[in-house]
Symmetry: D2
Subunit: 131 residues, 4 copies
């Protein structure tokens, strides 16, 4: 449990320390890039998990929403890594898609894997909304 | 064999006629998917052209904006092709990025290649705004 | 105005006629870009269809393979549109992924939507192998 | 310097400890996913840096190769995160693109930012070749 909480913060710190580019970005943007990367990865892993579980886990709208969420998170992280000023537009959209994806995961009840995905989406939505 | 060699024009026609999925989407959405695909392709080609020209064509902010535009257009088309209801959110963001990219191209003056990119961006912005 | 409303078929024709970049690429490469774009689109649509059908259509390995196929087709088309010389490497990989995806579709029997996906994959595999 | 060496290993460990999906993948695959994510991010940042520097840094072939490298690294990480068995095909292609991108960076001489990109590409090439 502790490990789960510790990881984003400590990973981000290393990132900020070693990357020249990261030093030239705000802490909020470095946090947001990491949140997008983690949300994309978690959605892709959770799609795989949900397809294997079947039943309501494999509901087409749920799988499709997680897929769309992974794609916009990817584009959002890339836009910031490119240093594009238009990132705020993409972040706004990403925040809303992540919110909808989190809500879809949360409707699925008490499954640890799906909850992990909801948490990644909530974290990404918050980080994107702060940009 | 003949069909396979057929021109892009005739293939596109088949595409429109044979796609079960396309028939279940509105004409506006099919137009928007095509506009996104063409805008992405045109931006990627124009980046290549502008890097080769150098000078103001290779202005970092201009190249970066076209790159970000290609990425969001890609994600936008994919979101509609997936049948994701959240596509409206992505279309809104895509419309705004395309508008900014078109404006950046239009500031570049009377270059046919860059004007073609501006037109693709304007077309995509309109199609996305109509979703 | 009329031109803007024109059908996908006529737009595709314009596309082939007006692109400076397209004129500087071989016909084989233009065909390959189109094949990749169509294969990506068809895979994304077929994922949506198969999830809705459920049962063997929604087999996790099948959905996952179509998803991976859509991604590599996307990257492959982009690499050629960028004018990157390294495209041959990506085309080789894309051809093999498309072959595996076609085979997975073909194992699914006599479903018109899935057959359409198999055909798009076979076409893309051939076009990529020719690069 | 130490921090730079330490980061991938410790990040990967956290990743492996907290992710259910990561626990079901080999250590080599978790390493490879991280290497692809870092190589993609570094290429995107270095494109931005090189465009700003101009001159030989903004050589069209170099920018294009880094762009293509970022795209295949992205697809490669996604393919593994999806759990797709076809990942070996994508990893092979990614290894070769990364090798070529590293070589292009190394030809650029003694620039710390470009060297960082070369290192990320070499690391990703090795990790992908081991899959």
């Amino acid at each position: 449990m502790q490990a789960r909480r510790a990881s984003p913060a400590s990973r981000k710190k290393e990132y900020a320390m070693t990357h020249h580019s990261a030093e030239h970005r705000s802490q909020a943007m470095n946090d947001c890039i990491l949140a997008c990367q983690q949300c994309e990865a978690t959605c892709l892993e959770t799609i795989n998990y949900c397809l294997g579980e079947g039943g309501e886990h494999a509901d087409p709208q749920h799988i499709t929403l997680m897929s769309a969420c992974a794609d916009i998170c990817d584009t959002c992280a890339r836009t910031m890594l490119r240093g594009a000023e238009v990132h705020t537009v993409v972040c706004n959209a990403c925040a809303e898609v992540c919110r909808q994806c989190a809500a879809s995961c949360e409707r699925m009840g008490d499954d640890a894997e799906v909850k992990r995905c909801a948490e990644a989406c909530r974290g990404c939505a918050e980080a994107c909304a702060a940009m």
